[in-house]
């Protein structure tokens, strides 16, 4: 019985190929829009999460100034190197604390030059930033205390200056930073593209004292990087960190903080939360087009029922039951809608892959949303096919046969 109805439905769809195609177009567009939006949204969410994870997990970034973000540091006094040592010594749950200073400089070596970011810090920087060495060694205690002429280069700098094999070339060579030359003692393992598209590997690391004495000429430290031990309550650590820094910066109870603490985990949650909201929103907008597609199906099914009144009359006259006619038209609507769903999934897969590569986000096949969209489109077929089908089933065979 069901098989027969399916057979009849497929025959009827085949008989009106162009109209069937136009009917399902709405569903096709709806399904492909929903799937594409959600897939790209999920890809974007994952991209953000990957980028933030690259910053280092369980990391607190302390900067001067009241507000987070750019330009907040103006006017507020800088940190000192001793602040980092105090944080590590006085607070529980701290895995490493690195003072960090940065400046943009053009470095010269091997007859080439390259504008890059020169960062000064201690060996703790490797822990806080989740950095590993591809080759060479980290700083020795003497390098750190006297500000030795040594440097560790990121993969991008290594490639631009020295070329050659990834992670190896350039070791032991000289690199000139402003007026002084340093020996390349290590190469950082590549991290790739970072948050907001900047290249994390475009960096030259020197001991903090080297940066202070030979490049910038100040004692100040712009940023403190504090990485927490696994399982540390970041809220509590943030509170005690704030308290400690307030004391060290001699702020009285009435003063506002002249520094801010940024939690990367919190940042990750906020950012991925934002992309998830965007995904849901776009998906919902796309779902509206699915609804419009469903109305399109109802419209065509009503036309089809009217057009085929005599056929329905004949079927009823030769003994089709009401529910058989109902099922025939209902299945026709469902088959149309499901067909639209399948075509939509195919188009969405192509569009998602293409758009993901254009937007630079990973393509993640999501079986849930594909299945859900398919079932939803079939459901729309039932919902919007029922009314026309019932109209067909309730026809009076005599009237229907007389219909011109």
């Amino acid at each position: 019985m069901l098989l027969n109805s399916l057979w009849l439905a497929l025959r009827s769809i085949r008989r009106n190929l162009l109209r069937s195609f136009l009917t399902i177009l709405g569903i096709v567009i709806g399904v492909s829009a929903v799937i594409t939006m959600v897939t790209l949204g999920k890809g974007a969410t994952q991209a953000v999460q990957t980028q933030i994870a690259g910053l280092g997990s369980n990391l607190l970034m302390v900067r001067t100034g009241q507000r987070q973000g750019h330009g907040g540091g103006a006017g507020a006094p800088a940190f000192k190197e001793a602040d980092a040592a105090a944080i590590l010594a006085e607070l529980g749950g701290v895995a490493a604390a690195a003072p960090e200073g940065r400046t943009n400089v053009t470095v010269v070596g091997n007859g080439r030059n390259w504008a890059t970011n020169v960062t000064g810090s201690t060996n703790a920087w490797f822990t806080t930033g989740n950095w590993k060495l591809a080759s060479g060694r980290t700083f020795e205690a003497e390098d750190q205390s006297v500000g030795g002429a040594v440097c560790i280069v990121g993969e991008t700098v290594r490639r631009e200056i020295f070329g050659g094999a990834v992670g190896a070339g350039g070791l032991g060579a000289q690199l000139r930073i402003k007026q002084f030359s340093c020996e390349v003692i290590g190469v950082l393992a590549s991290k790739g593209q970072a948050a907001m598209g900047n290249d994390q590997d475009d960096v030259v690391l020197v001991p903090l004292h080297t940066l202070q004495r030979r490049v910038t000429g100040t004692q100040s430290v712009a940023t403190l990087l504090v990485s927490m031990q696994e399982g540390t309550d970041s809220t509590r650590l943030k509170a005690s960190l704030t308290q400690l820094l307030r004391e060290r910066r001699k702020l009285t109870a009435g003063d506002d903080d002249n520094f801010n603490v940024l939690d990367t985990q919190q940042l990750a949650e906020t950012l991925s939360g934002t992309t998830q909201v965007m995904t849901t929103l776009l998906g919902a907008v796309a779902a509206v087009s699915l609804l419009v597609g469903g109305i399109g199906i109802m419209n065509i099914m009503l036309v089809s029922v009217t057009e085929r009144t005599r056929e329905i009359g004949l079927r009823l006259a030769i003994g089709a039951l009401e529910r058989e006619v109902l099922l025939q038209f209902l299945i026709e609507a469902v088959v149309l809608a499901a067909l639209g769903g399948i075509v939509g999934i195919v188009i969405a897969t192509g569009a998602s892959i293409a758009l993901a590569s254009v937007m630079g986000v990973p393509y993640l096949f999501d079986p849930t949303i594909n299945l859900l969209s398919f079932l939803f489109s079939a459901g729309i077929g039932v919902l919007f096919g029922y009314f026309p089908a019932r109209r067909a089933a309730r026809m009076d065979p005599i009237e229907a046969l007389r219909h011109e």
Binding site: M1, E311, R315, G319, L321, E324
Partner: protein, 258 residues
Amino acid sequence: MSDAPALTRAAPPVAVGQPLIRLRGVTKVYGTGEVALLALKGIDLTIAAGEFVAIMGPSGSGKSTAMNILGCLDTPTAGQYLFLGAHVESLSRDRLARLRRRYLGFVFQGFNLLARTSAQENVELPLVYRGEGAAARHAAAAKALRSVGLGGWEHHTPAELSGGQQQRVAIARAIVTEPAVLLADEPTGNLDTRRSQEIMDLLRGLNTDHGITVLMVTHEPDMAAYARRLVHFIDGRIDSDVLNPHPVEPGLPAGQAR
């Protein structure tokens, strides 16, 4: 019944001469109140199995209404309709449909074939609703088409067939289920004289050779002359109900004519 298609769930044979249809005091009213139209004003009619009855009368005489009731497409407002002893007037819509699919075959003036659908599939349609399997459907439809002289035309669509051929397909569709009664509503109304005679020969053959009871509405005396019983309707009543002493004798054998 040697040439009729063999079906697994065929209608039980009804012995010729046994009462098949009995209308008692059947009335039909359309509408209500002041605009009510009394289409049938108390009809008594008994039809035995194996009869060939022509129902005649001017338009508005109630013959179409009577045909709809006889065909179980409509129910009387009052009165009784006994089909094989069962009360039809009290049956639900679905039970009427089951009765039609089991015992009745229909032929219409306008053929009512499904467009863009082969003759074979058109003929198979009633079997689909009887739940026959594909193989049984194909065999029965091919046989029915052969019995109306359309062997070899199985895969032609209605647009590729002449009017007479289309009506033959419709007749094949009506008899593929081995019905007890064939109801034909102006079956020759859209055909020229020559094709009309062919169709009438075919109907007469189904009646005499296969024992199918034929009820036919017509306003053409030439066509009614093929029947063995003539029922005249006038103004919602049966005006006359007579046997035709000299029905038209077989002329051209059906199926050879084109």
